[in-house]
Symmetry: C2
Subunit: 214 residues, 2 copies
């Protein structure tokens, strides 16, 4: 896929088609006082890009397609597996206090909780703050008591697009979601193993990368 | 600006140029068993997009420009003023406890602090959590005591691009930055009035909007 900065003449052609559709290539050339063959590459570009549509024996139409279509296509192609970051995980038996220390040491906004290596919960900075001012004994209370518990956890998978993951973060109003792979344990039951994390920081960093790209 | 999905023939042309640069249009046509004039629109598209470069009497070169250039251009065009969200502000004399309540009521990750209506500080969820477990009397201590104070605050302005703002957020490892306008007070001194906020949530939401755009 490529991107093209339209020339002034191409912009003029679009305007002419917008106002006069359907209009033949010959008629466009007349208005611009140019030959039909001079316009051929311009019309090829405008139809290939989908901005104009050409129907045989009728002429050119304006489709209304805009430049932003491309951004969307690029974002949709990036997979969660390509941009996921390292998840910070504690066991369900860890104290709230120790988990907060881990949160600060790792400088993350959420911590994922496991039992026997499988995802059982998520705790955000907001959850910690709520409980820190709530009078709980942070040293004695295990994190399992305050965490958001499965199956109420939004997750993403490596093969999903980063757009899907970002939509989950926005729709569910969370700061980050775990990237998981499903592991069958027995009797057809399955659990999630945590293999990464997608956060608002991941998305913001990706946004900067895409924006800086030359 | 427009976006074009390259045809198979155009992809082939790029490959031929990559391997044989510089190569004339005539030579490319021969390899594809096509006439020079059949290739003219393809070569026009590939040079206009900047993927190929044409030098008279020498031939075509491959420039190495990629599809992502366009995403970057789009992101660079969006101004902070177009996407900023509502800032949550408390006065420097407010207690830490009241500020935490505001943080929860408004569901934001950072609070901006003012004195006489001008920006004096920023407090994040992380700052609140650190002090909540630190043994301070949250009801009696004013937020001014724990805030990050001017001039150590990263700000953005309405006319800056959203890419600039996102880079500041990533580089300074903060969740959000205030959008300010500079107000001259007297003797050439100036202060910042807070008129908005750009956060990782703003960026993630914009990312989703750009990605969903059709």
């Amino acid at each position: 896929m490529i991107f093209i900065q339209l020339s002034e003449r191409q912009e003029k052609i679009i305007d002419i088609v917008k106002e006069n559709e359907p209009i033949t290539g010959e008629a466009i050339a007349q208005r611009l006082k140019l030959t039909r063959s001079t316009l051929r590459p311009d019309l090829a570009i405008l139809t290939m890009s989908g901005i104009l549509d050409a129907r045989p024996k009728v002429g050119y139409f304006y489709t209304g397609k805009t430049a932003f279509s491309f951004v969307s296509e690029s974002i949709r192609k990036i997979k969660v597996s390509e941009v996921k970051s390292v998840p910070i995980v504690v066991d369900e038996e860890s104290s709230i206090y120790d988990s907060i220390v881990t949160l600060f040491l790792e400088d993350v906004s959420s911590i994922f909780v496991t039992s026997n290596g499988f995802l059982t919960g998520v705790v955000s900075r907001k959850d910690f703050l709520k409980n820190a001012i709530g009078g709980l004994d942070l040293n004695k209370t295990p994190i399992g008591v305050i965490m958001t518990r499965m199956p109420n956890i939004v997750v993403t998978k490596p093969e999903e697009t980063i757009l899907d993951a970002a939509m989950k973060i926005i729709d569910h109003e969370v700061d980050s979601i775990p990237v998981v792979e499903e592991v069958e344990i027995k009797d057809g039951k399955s659990e999630y193993r945590i293999i990464g994390k997608i956060s608002k920081t991941t998305i913001t960093r990706l946004f900067v990368e895409l924006g800086k790209n030359d």
